[in-house]
Every structure is written in structure tokens, then in C-alpha cells.
Amino acid sequence: MHELSVAQMAQGLAAGAFSSLELTQHFLRRIEAHNGHLNAYISVCAEQALASARRADAAIAAGQQGPLTGVPLAHKDIFCTAGVRTTCGSRMLAEFVPPYDATVVARLQAAGAVVLGKTNMDEFAMGSSNETSYFSAVRNPWDTDCVPGGSSGGSAAAVAARLAPIATATDTGGSIRQPAALCGVTGLKPTYGRVSRWGMIAFASSMDQGGPIGQSAEDCALLLQAMAGHDPKDSTSIVEPVPDYCGQFGGPLDGLKIGVVEEYFADLGDAVAARVRGALAELEKLGTRLVSVRLPRSHLAVPAYYVLAPAEASANLARFDGVRYGYRCAEPVDLLDLYCRTRAEGFGAEVKRRILVGTYVLSAGFYDAYFRKAQQVRRLIKEDFAAAFAQVDILAGPSCPAGAFRFGSKTADPVAMYLQDIYTIAANLAGLPALSLPCGAVAGKPIGLQLIGNYFAEARILGAAHRLQQATDWHRAVPAAEGWR
């Protein structure tokens, strides 16, 4: 049952081949069997899931079935869930029980989806390996000595090992696409503002964006359909109608121009480049036209991001002060001691480092040289994309420099870790939609192809990915050696 696509699950539920309760119990049994080793979930919500499944079965019996009614899913533990602990991977929120649901959570509940649990992640979404999680790292189902990527490593690993059919995730600099690539699944970061950020714990507010992870572009489209849309509670969410993503899958790819980003191949290893080019050749066979394009300021994306994201994080994370909610240090002698020790003990090393970098670049005397400069470079990067999209419909390249790496191999060098996101960060700076889908493996480790679309062109990149997945079977490869499937 766990191998079914979301559409097949909906068909099975409609035909009475199985109930949502049976489907949910099946996934809960898989979680019980494998999560101890994989650590993809921080919290499992068995009781609530079974109750939701029963409600979904009643709705289906009453003839009220939507595409996600009775379909199990997992939420990244960055989305607030009323009455269910929401940790953001941090000691700071290890006991935090939100009084409300994030808009994404509420929408999926209204769509009848069944929440299996909350997935593990890098602390406050800051990391590319899941090693910064207070709840220990997730293991990659393809090789459990390797990282799953991050920050949405729990969501990607849960889908890869089929401990959930689909999962929500978030992406500030690559946190959906990089783990999707490293775990051999499909993940989409929508246009900034497409999905509400209300109730999604903030990291860098001008780049944070929620999106889907699934086994295929089709599953991602079905999940995005329910997640997307304007939310009056999020002033940055965009008033723009949500198209029927799956309804646009039929269109031919003939004549679609795909720009292959030259800069993204300059330092790429031969084996990874061969997989990415192999997938592009398949897209060409489907009628698209490949042209070479340039994004000349690509090399400035990582430096600009590591000024802007820490600056925004240092402001956003100021709220964690041990007064209103979250961790509080023991026996503070005065208010300043309460703040300083609460934050020293409640935050992990990477989060503290980023807060301090953010504090530095925003402090008097450095603001113009760092923060303002990075915002100017951000505009230049956006202009590079605008020039490219004047020539082509979709941009393509690798999602990451390589496949999954071993635990501990990059933890001593923050800059080496940050370069994991060298190909994904620019889309966040520009606010563009981008997805990663599997395109084969190198030494048994999955590699991701990245497709970047113009603003609100989610349907176009999902459609191209869907057609590619209909013609190929990279996305069907399973980590069989580990026995998860």
C-alpha cells in the first residue's frame, strides 16, 4: 500500500479497496518499525491520526471526497500544530505546544488529510545535513551512514523510506530541494508568497517558503494545490489565483525552451554532470529545446545569502527570551542573566553562530558594507534571472554539487556546509519557484535535477517534471538495499 501514488490512494479509497483507517495503520506500523533507526519523525501522532482517518472514512462514505481526503502525510516540525508539540528541531521549543494551527496545517486538515506526525529538521531550519537538530540527525534511507540533507531532512527521508506518502517542508536557501535531491525524491519550493507563512516558525522571512515533498511531481502538485493560496493572516502572501496544477499536466512540451545554466556546471564533478545532462537529454527527446544561458552573478548568491539570512534570523530569533514560551535557564540571578543563559543553553552552536553573524552585519558601522551591499547584490541576482527568463521558459541545472555525504564530514567547516546550497540559494534570493527531481545516482547516492521557473510558473515546472517522470523511472528507484521498502 505504501508504494501507491497519492492519486492511486484516492482511487483505492473511493473504490473501497481499503479504508483511510487501514492506510493510516499501515503507515503507523512502518513508522514504528523503521523510525527508531531513521529518526525521520520527532513526534508521531498515532491517536490523532486514527481519529482523523475515521472522520475521513465517514466523509468518503458520505460522498464527500477530495483529492487528499483520508491520505496520510507528515508535517515538518516547523509548522505549528494545535495541541501537538512543535519543536523546530530546537531545545528552545522542545516542550512547546502551540495553541493554534499554521495556515498550511489548517488547510490540509480541511482537505481531509491525516497527519501521521512531525518530521525532524535542522534546528530552526539552519543546516544542510540535519546534524544541527537537537533531536539527533535523520539518517539517509539510501545509506544510513550518510546525511539526508537539510533542513527538511526528516520530510525527505520519510517520503524516501515510505514512512509517509507526502510531506510538507520549507525552503529558505535550498531546504526542500537539497534533501529531496539527497534522498531521491521530488520537492518544490514555490514562488515567495505562494504558500502562507502564518504559523510557520520564521527563520529568514523574506526567503522562507513552504512547499511539498513527494515521490513524484504529480504527488507534489496535489499537495501544493491544498497548501497554496492567499492568506489574510500573512501580509506577504500574494493575492493571485491558484491554478489547477494537475489539470495543466496534459500540455505538450514541444517548443518549450529550457535554459541550461552554464555557471552551474563550471565546478561540477563529471559523474554528477553526466546524470544531470542525461535527464536534460530526455527532456529534449520530449520536444523541449535546450539552450545555454548565463547567470553571471551566481557566485555571489551564497555570500549575499549568508549576510541576509543571518541578519533576518538574528531579528526573528530575538523573540526566544525565556519569558513568554520556550526554554528558560535554571535560577536566573537577574533579567539579563535570564536572557543570556536561556539563549546560550536553548540554542545550538549553528543557530548561535548565525545570530552572531546577523548581529555583526546589522551593527553600527557595518550595516552599509554588509547588509545594504548584500541587498544590492540580491537585486543584481534577480536581474540576472529576469534577463535569462526573457530568453527561455525554464532554467535547469543540478540541485546540489554531489550526492549524500557522510555524517561529520562537513561539520567542522561551516563554509563547506554552506556550499551545499550553491545552486539552490539564488532562487530564494530572487523569490522564484524551483523544484528538484531525481535523475539517477552516483555510487548509489541519488542526484537531483533542478528546474527553476519564472514567478508563479509552478504549473510549468511541475508539468515538465511530470512528463519527464512519465518517460523515465529515476523517481521510482528505491533504497532497496536498506530494506525500507
Binding site: 508568497g193 519569558v323 513568554r324 543570556c340 548581529t359 551591499k373 544590492q376 547584490v377 561551516p414 554552506y418
Partner: protein, 95 residues
């Protein structure tokens, strides 16, 4: 351009994060690595470029100033580490 220990102390004070003497060494080294990397920006000519704060250059949308589905103070305070009589408790601020 390495950070000096007194600069780390200043940042820690501004960020309200206690940094111990033992942590200071590794922290300086790693912050230096990150700041060296971001200094690549200085080589880029940005004369006359308007800073970009929002990817879509959108303006702040305002909603009517009306009361909406507010949570009760009791619900919102359930996560407080220390509270009494509807107030958050902190160490004495005034003598």
C-alpha cells in the same frame, strides 16, 4: 581581518547570548571563515543599485483594524515558563 575577543564579547552582549571563554576560540575561527566568505561581495560593483528587501518588490498590505478570532490570554500563556495571575514572571527588575 580576524575578529578580536572583545568584538565577540560585544556581539554576544548585543545578541543576549552568553559566550564562555572556552567557546570563544572555535567561535572566532568559524565566524571569521563565514565573514571572509561574505566579503566576496565587496568586489561587486553596486553603484546606483537599489537594495532589494522583498523579492517581488511588494508593498505592505494593510488589513482593517478590527478584532479577529483572538486566542484567550489563558491559552496563550499556557507555554509560559513562569506565570501567575495572568502575568509573566521574571526575576526582579526594580529594587
Amino acid at each position: 581581518m580576524a575578529l578580536q575577543p572583545d568584538e565577540i564579547a560585544r556581539l554576544a552582549r548585543l545578541a543576549h547570548i552568553q559566550v564562555t571563554a572556552e567557546e570563544c576560540g572555535t567561535l572566532t575561527e568559524r565566524l571569521d571563515a563565514v565573514l571572509d566568505m561574505v566579503r566576496q561581495l565587496q568586489a561587486c560593483d553596486t553603484a546606483g543599485v537599489e537594495p532589494l528587501a522583498h523579492p517581488l518588490d511588494a508593498v505592505q498590505e494593510l488589513r482593517p483594524d478590527a478584532v479577529a478570532d483572538a486566542e484567550s490570554p489563558e491559552t496563550l500563556m499556557r507555554n509560559a515558563p513562569a506565570a501567575a495571575a495572568g502575568l509573566f514572571l521574571v526575576p526582579r527588575v526594580l529594587d
